[in-house]
Each structure stands twice: as C-alpha cells, then as structure tokens.
C-alpha cells in the first residue's frame, strides 16, 4: 500500500514536472528523453487520442479514419532512418528498405490525397 502511494506521489511529481518542462524548457526536456519520459508521452498521447476523437458526427467517421490512416504513415520516418544508415553494399537491407520507403510514401501521399478528395465534396458550393 505504501508502495502504491509513493508511486502515485511520484506520478504526480512526474506529471507536474513534465508539464512544467514542456511549457518552459522544452529544449532541455527533448535532449534528456529516457524510457520513462517516453512512457509519459505514451500515456498522454493515448488520452489525447481518445479526447480528440470523442463526439465526432457520424458523417466524419470515414474522412477521420482515412486521415488517421494517413497519419500513421509517419512510419515512413523509420524506414528512412533504417535505409539511411544501411551500408551501401548490404543489398538485402537496401532492397527491403527501398520497398519500405515506397510503401510508406504510398501510405502518406495516398492517405492524405484520398482524405482531401472526400472532404472536398463537403465543401459548400454556391
């Protein structure tokens, strides 16, 4: 039980710290990222996602799904990193990396363009 309350206390301190740092010294915070900070980002992002999505009218479900689909195309950054640091003679990794970048780009570009097309139709025409 004591463990739990210390955990809660630490959690509160962490949360306060995080918001303080994010507001004032985000640069220092960014350079000192460790696994715990990642966990806090994780936590905040999960709740942010839930918060952002709730109360969406049904007509926007499809564009929203499509938009979110484009956003997870951010995985392309991982493929660029892995590709960018591959030895130029590692053909196996280069081929797969190349394919990964192509697929990632497809996801990003296709996703945003399709969403845009859908939303264009909602535009009020006069």
């Amino acid at each position: 039980m004591r463990n739990f309350s210390t955990f809660i206390a630490q959690f509160k301190i962490r949360l306060n710290l995080l918001s303080m740092i994010m507001l004032s010294e985000f640069q220092g915070f960014l350079t000192s990222l460790d696994i715990w900070d990642i966990c806090f980002i994780l936590l905040l992002a999960i709740f942010l996602g839930i918060e952002v999505i709730s109360n969406v009218p049904a007509i926007l479900h499809t564009p929203l799904m499509s938009g979110a689909n484009a956003i997870h195309g951010v995985v392309i950054i991982g493929s660029i990193i892995v590709m960018g640091h591959t030895a130029p003679d590692n053909y196996f990794a280069l081929t797969l990396g190349f394919l990964a970048v192509v697929l990632g780009t497809l996801n990003v570009v296709g996703g945003f363009v399709v969403t845009n097309r859908m939303l264009q139709m909602f535009k009020k025409k006069k």
């Binding site: 985000f26 350079t31 990222l33 990642i38 980002i41 994780l42 992002a45 942010l48 996602g49 952002v52 999505i53 969406v56 009218p57 049904a58 007509i59 926007l60 479900h61 499809t62 564009p63 799904m65 499509s66 938009g67 979110a68 689909n69 956003i71 997870h72 951010v74 995985v75 991982g78 493929s79 990193i81 892995v82 590709m83 960018g84 640091h85 591959t86 130029p88 590692n90 990794a93 280069l94 990396g97 190349f98 990964a100 970048v101 192509v102 697929l103 780009t105 996801n107 990003v108 570009v109 296709g110 996703g111 945003f112 363009v113 399709v114 097309r117 939303l119 139709m121 909602f122 009020k124």
Partner: protein
C-alpha cells in the same frame, strides 16, 4: 543550434500538427484544413529526418548522416506518383478498399523496418528485440489483414469461417507471442526465427479477417488502422523517435475509439464482430414462404410521389453501385419543384463505411441540411407519405427490432415500415450484405420497383416532367 535540436523542433511541429489536424478533422467546418495541416506537418517531419537525422556510434563516437539518398529519393518519388495517381483515380464508391490498401502499405512498411533492423544491427538487448519482433508481428498482421479486407470489399474473397477457426486463431496468436518472448531473450543465434514470426503473423492476419462478414469490413479496417498506428509507435520506441511515437499512438488510440463507436452504431460488441458471429450464424431470418410481394410500375410510382407531401429517400450501397447519386439528386429537385418536401434518411452504416453515403451524396451536390440522421428521421416517418428505399436492405429490415433470432437483431434501423407507403428500388430479390431475408419487402404497404437504380430514377424523372 545542433542538427539534433533542429530535428527535435521538426518533430515537435509534426506531432503538434497531427494532434491539431486530427482535432480539426473531427469538425465538419475545419476538416479540410485539418487534413492539409497534418499533411504539412508530415512533410516537415520527413524533410527534417532526411536533412538532420544523425546516428552517433556509441563505440567510436562517429556521427553519421542519412545516406543512400539516391535510393531514398527514388523510393519517395515512386511512392508519391503511384499514391497520388491511385488516390485521384479511385471512384468514390471504391474508396473503402483504397483506405484498406493504404493501411496495408503502412503495416508492411512497419514490418519491413523490423526485418531490416534485425538484419543490419543484430541488437542484443531484450527490450529492443522485443519491440522489433512485436512491431514485425503487428505490422504484418495489419498488412495481410488489410489485403483480405480489400479483397472482401472488392467481393473477390468470400467469407469463410468455422467454429474451430476461433480456437486456431487464439492458439496461433499466443504461439506467436510466446515465440517472440523466446527469441527476444536469446542472442543473435536465434535471429533466423524472425522469418517464422513473419510467416506466422502473415497467416494470422489472413485467418483473423477471413471469418468476419463483409458488412463488418469497416470495423475491421478501422481496427487494422489502429494496429498500424501501434506498429508505427513501436518503431518510435525503437529509434527514440518522438514524432513516430506520438503519431502512432494518437492513431492507435483514436482508431480504437473510432472502432468502438462504429460497433456501437451497429449495436454490437467488438468481440462479436471479431469472432465473425455475423456470418457463422446460420439463421437467415424468418421464412418468407407463402408471403407475396407486389410490384409497382414507373408511372404509378411517379404519380404516388408527385401527389405526396413528404417523401424520404433511404439510400444504400445499391445507389452507390449504380452510380445513381447524381440522378437521385435530380429526381429530388424535380419533386421539390412540384412542391413535395424531400429529405434523405442516412443510416450511420449505409454504404460500406460509416459516413460513406454522406460523402457520395455530397459528391452529387445534395444540400447538406437535406441529409437527416436516423434518430432525427424516425419520429417523422409515420407522417411521411412515401419512403423510397434505393438499394438499401439491412438498414431498413424490421427483423432488427422484432426477431431476436436474426443476426442483425438489436441494430438500430430506419423504420421505413412505419411510413404510409414504401417503394423499394432493387435490382432483384437478392439478399442484402448480411445475407438475410427482409420482411419489409413483403409488407402490405410496400411496392417493389425492380431494375437498376439509375435507370429507374431516370424513368421516374421523365414521367414526372411529362405529367
């Protein structure tokens, strides 16, 4: 300012744009700007990575920048051109398939990253290995699952499921997870087992989507969408990359909520959808033997509509397939000229995706206020003279309210059977996507108008104009 700091700022901007963009996407008036905003943020994050990303070798302290730029730019160029063209060319009716396809691409991308990472760096730490394998599994499941969903929406793949399959699926998923934990603990001698994880995950993705009914594909796509988000976030863990982490988790959690919202719109639990109870259920509704249907010809239908005060159109996927949305809008305008009040009743899951029908009708310039949601339209239906059901079936099936043995029992419906007259436009007496009989067609107030929706509407317009 060091390169790494500039990169962090790019990532901060990217993450911010995703959050704000997603928020803007959930409001009709700002949705379009939200999408563009998120796209802009994505561009900043990608450009920042190419320009400023650095790897520091922990042994020698050597700093290396992003190399193989020729390949990277080549790949981006191919992806951009293909992605842009296919997204611009796809018909709005085929859009759910397209979203599923793009989702699969993202999943495959995440899986490939894991494969390459294992091959080039042979990491030894448990944490990193675990994340890599998990990312591989989720990405692969998302990829093969999306491909099956794509095939089902194209109606190239049939539903296939049996009771035992659920057992196989669950065994398989635990086997894969067990294998992942086992390999993650080991050193590089067990690295080749990564292909087993890859293959098993691919099979699991297929088996996972296979038994799920075609009508539930939107839910599946939304779920796989959040899977890919999680795979992207795992990539963020792997590289300590904040923008991948926030973007991925944001989509992961938002996608999960969206999936649950969709299930709620159909009054079913997520588990119920996943276990494929929809198609496995052999009940096909009440027997309709001995009941007869009555037909109506175009002239009578036109007269019935013209002398009505209030007409409500219930559009379904059949309208989309016949590409009849423009003709339908014209039909509505002709009726309005005759002093008839016309509205559209749009069911949340009409079409192949929630909101799909709204997109299609908006494409045909149907004024936004004319589209009524189910809850708004149902109380008015008893005062409606004619309900015209165009290519919709399951969403107006009274069995959802009256027959507890029906697979769609409990799903909220548009209560077309409460209107004074019902005209059903249909190609034939075929069953709806859920594959069950519809009592509405045998209702005494119902008249059937067989034929292609577009052709029938055109004939109706001609009749109305000449009358």
């Amino acid at each position: 300012m060091a390169n790494s700091d500039i990169l962090k700022i790019c990532y901060l901007l990217g993450s911010l744009s995703f959050i704000v963009g997603l928020k803007m996407l959930s409001r009709p008036d700002s949705a379009k700007r939200g999408n563009l905003f998120a796209a802009l943020g994505m561009t900043v994050a990608i450009a920042g990575t190419i320009l400023f990303h650095e790897n520091v070798n922990s042994v020698t302290g050597e700093v290396s920048r992003i190399g193989n730029l020729l390949f990277i730019f080549g790949a981006i160029a191919i992806g951009t051109v293909t992605g842009y063209l296919s997204a611009m060319k796809v018909k709005m009716t085929a859009m759910p398939q397209m979203v599923s396809l793009f989702n699969g691409m993202g999943g495959a991308c995440a899986a490939l990253i894991s494969l390459v990472e294992m091959n080039t760096h042979h990491p030894q730490e448990f944490g990193i290995r675990f994340i890599i394998f998990l990312g591989l599994m989720i990405g692969t499941v998302s990829f093969t699952g999306s491909m099956i969903a794509f095939g089902k929406l194209e109606e190239k793949i049939k539903d296939y499921g049996s009771k035992i399959q659920q057992v196989i699926n669950n065994t398989l998923v635990f086997a894969i997870l067990g294998l992942i934990v086992y390999i993650a603990q080991g050193d590089s001698t067990t690295d080749s087992l990564i292909w087993v994880v890859f293959a098993a995950s691919a099979v699991y993705g297929i088996l996972f989507v296979m038994p799920i009914g075609g009508a539930d594909m939107p839910v599946v796509i939304s779920l796989l969408n959040s899977f890919t988000g999680i795979a992207a976030a795992l990539g963020g863990f792997m590289y300590d990359n904040q923008v991948m982490l926030t973007g991925g988790i944001l989509v992961g959690s938002a996608g999960t909520i969206l999936t649950i919202l969709m299930c709620k719109a159909m009054n079913r639990s997520l588990w119920n959808v996943i276990s494929g109870a929809f198609s496995a259920n052999s009940s096909s509704g009440k027997s309709t033997e001995g009941l007869s249907i009555s037909e109506i010809n175009v002239t009578d239908a036109a007269i019935l509509c013209a002398y009505s005060q209030r007409v409500t159109i219930v559009p379904g996927y059949g309208l989309a397939v016949a590409q009849a949305q423009h003709t339908c809008h014209e039909f509505e305008k002709v009726l309005e000229q005759k002093g008839v009040e016309v509205t559209y009743a749009v069911h949340p899951v009409a079409g192949r995706m929630p909101g799909h029908m709204n997109v299609l009708l908006a494409e045909a310039d149907v004024p936004y206020p004319k589209l009524k949601e189910m809850d708004e339209v149902n109380p008015q239906l008893p005062n409606t003279d004619v309900v015209i059901v165009i290519g919709a079936n399951d969403v107006v099936n009274p069995a959802a309210e009256t027959d507890p043995s029906s697979p769609i029992y409990g799903m909220p419906i548009i209560k077309a059977n409460t209107a004074k007259n019902i005209i059903v436009m249909k190609r034939s007496m075929g069953k709806g996507y859920a594959g069950i009989e519809n009592e509405l067609f045998y209702d005494k107030k119902t008249r059937m108008l067989f034929g292609d929706a577009k052709a029938s509407l055109e004939k109706l317009i001609t009749e109305l104009k000449s009358a």
